[in-house]
Amino acid sequence: MAGEMLVVCGPSGGGKSTLLRACQGIVPQLTGGALAGAAEVVGCDATVTRPHALAALGVTIVYQNALEGFVADRVDDEIAFGPESLGLAPDEIASRVDEALADVGLAHAARRAIAALSGGEQQRVAIAAALALRPRVLLLDEPTAHLDERTAGEIVGLLGQLRRSRGMTVIVAEHRLGLVAPLADRIAIVIGGRLHAVGAPREVLRDPALPALGVPVPRALQVAVHLGLAAAPLTPGELANALVARGAGGGPKTGHADALSRAAAAAADVALRFEGVRYRYPGATHDAVRDVSFAVRRGERVALVGPSGAGKSTLARLALGLARPTAGEIAALGVRSPATSAIAPRVGLVVQNPMHQLLAETVEDEIALGLRGRDRTGRSTRIDEMLARFDLASLRGRHPLSLSEGQRRRLALAAAIAPSPELLVLDEPTLAQDEAQRIALSRLVRELGAAGVAIVAITHDREFANDACDRVIAIAEGALVADLPLAGDAAGISALAKAGIPLADVPATVLALSGAGRHAIARSVDELVRAFR
């Protein structure tokens, strides 16, 4: 419907991006393939109207990774690109650039280099570049996927505000339903290339089967559904209100394993230690890492959080011996100031983009790369084990780069785990993963931790951090600003909130309940449901 906000959601590979690109005429006209049926957008048949013609009619798309779609180096040049392509008069172009910049709150940054902007600002530039076309239909393909929680919230808020002020139709594919669903008129669930359900978010998302199908139903709503509440809360605040209104339940009915696991971790050996570490990139004028000290013990699962550019990836590079600290000392697996070659077989890294990690010519060889020290039988057994565990057995002879995104991610993980690393670093492991994959990954991380592997997971995903890790380290502007256990009790959660760490839905609900005089100890949906059943 004209002027509405439609959220498209579903498991990875389900067809969300294809649907959005079909609205722009990109599928099938630029991609090839066959498209049956009708696709009418702004009164035109999108199956035959060229993408640039649809752009001229007011249909345009914003991609997940803004940087990959930029044409120019400077903000105003990038925004002018669309109007210039449409052949508009110079005065009109200038006015549209100014208007779009003002709408996204970047009027002050018109002449700045795009590369110098933060991730959130770059996504604002991408949205402004689309707005300069005066769109009637704005399509967005996971616009917050690469952003931290706070910035993602700002971008989603901006979309809601723009849709009201400009009266345009917004169709957004998004995994962060807790942020976007409260603003949406309707939600469409796309699974396996089919429309599974469409309707008002609070009605559609109540289906208890959705999480298992890979749909990231907000945890607040999952709790409400399990408890049979009449309300359909999308946020922790709404859930807390509904639970308070319900009356019965609450209280620390179940204990929590937090204290137990922390005691076990305290007794274990240190796998990674930073002591007063500073790091400055060559030619830089300020430190990227400033006086950071912490230790990670074997079996600990640490979430490393902070805004984009805070220094999280630099810390990971230092930990793995890929960079030398300017000052301070690092010890990894007992090796002081480790060189990568000295610790390589004992550490594992899973990078954000699996394309950057897959180097062999077959799936089997990719896993075998890290097993060169083992005998033929040991190697073969481990490869089979990894192929079976990550559901890759039928793909063993395929080239890694010919696999789907989800398969590539599983292979990257399998290849990193195959050599049985003692220290594993995961860089945004849930990026482009659906709910089912995130749950499986959380389970794997917990298993590896139980087996004694020290895990450091760089993540913007507050639910994954809460599910998979037992401790959180927050970094801001290169400095360590918090190092706290991920707690399930109100006092512990309050400490996390005070440190500015984004809370997952269940801990946020526990904290909100505590404010209303109701007490529970819970970190997971099941624990909160048990406390209130």
């Binding site: 990109i26 640039h52 991609y63 779609g69 052949g87 890929l322 077989p345 990078v351």
Partner: protein
């Protein structure tokens, strides 16, 4: 230089480059001096890695000619390669990509061709970053990117396929994004700000011609 019209900047760069390529020893010496000063002013540290990469090739060219009994020609060919690289790097850092696009378009080059050049220039640092990520992964997995020459060669070969695939995918993604913003709509694109040719640009154009004339004159007087 950045105060000049991009067409004037292009003319100056072309004159220096022509001097290096076709101006004999005079063009090489003058071009070398300009390359040193320009590189120092535009950030020598960032030019170090690409120049270090081109040096072995320059040495190889020089040695090849030297073995064929043309030592001075070999040295000149090697120098030409290094100077051309240094000048191109300094020029790329000194000019605004958008301004250069406008200049090429004003010279009546087709806009699709101009944008291919622009996209190519934008992809250089991005591809460099991709390569950095691949090298990191290779290092951590014990693939010999830092080993002896033969193992290193085999390791780099393993990185080329993923690098190519990543770059092609980026290109396709950028193409889609450009189409979704109307790239193919206008038969003649408009621009937000028209280029303005001023007196100082004419002076720069004349200076470029004078430079070439001097190189030719001095070259003709030398034995």
């Amino acid at each position: 230089m950045s105060a000049l019209d991009p067409r004037a900047q292009l003319a100056l760069f072309a004159a220096i480059l022509l001097g290096v390529l076709f101006g004999g020893m005079t063009g090489l010496v003058a071009g070398g001096a300009i390359a040193i000063i320009w590189t120092a002013r535009s950030g020598a540290s960032r030019a170090r890695a690409p120049l270090a990469a081109v040096l072995p090739l320059a040495l190889f060219v020089a040695l090849l000619d030297a073995f064929a009994g043309r030592t001075s020609e070999g040295i000149a060919a090697g120098l030409r390669l290094v100077e051309t690289t240094a000048l191109a790097l300094a020029f790329a850092r000194s000019v605004d990509a958008r301004a250069m696009t406008d200049a090429l378009r004003a010279l009546r080059l087709p806009h699709s061709f101009v944008f291919v050049l622009l996209a190519g220039a934008r992809f250089v640092p991005v591809t460099g970053a991709d390569l950095g990520e691949l090298v990191t992964a290779a290092r951590l997995r014990g693939i010999g990117v830092d080993a002896g020459p033969w193992r290193r060669l085999a390791a780099w070969r393993a990185l080329l396929v993923p690098l190519l695939v990543i770059t092609v995918r980026r290109g396709l993604q950028l193409g889609e994004a450009m189409e979704a913003r109307g790239f193919s709509t206008a038969s003649r694109r408009t621009v937000r700000t028209e280029l303005r040719w001023r007196v100082r640009d004419s002076v720069a154009g004349l200076a470029a011609l004078l430079y070439l004339a001097l190189i030719a004159l001095i070259g003709s007087r030398l034995p």
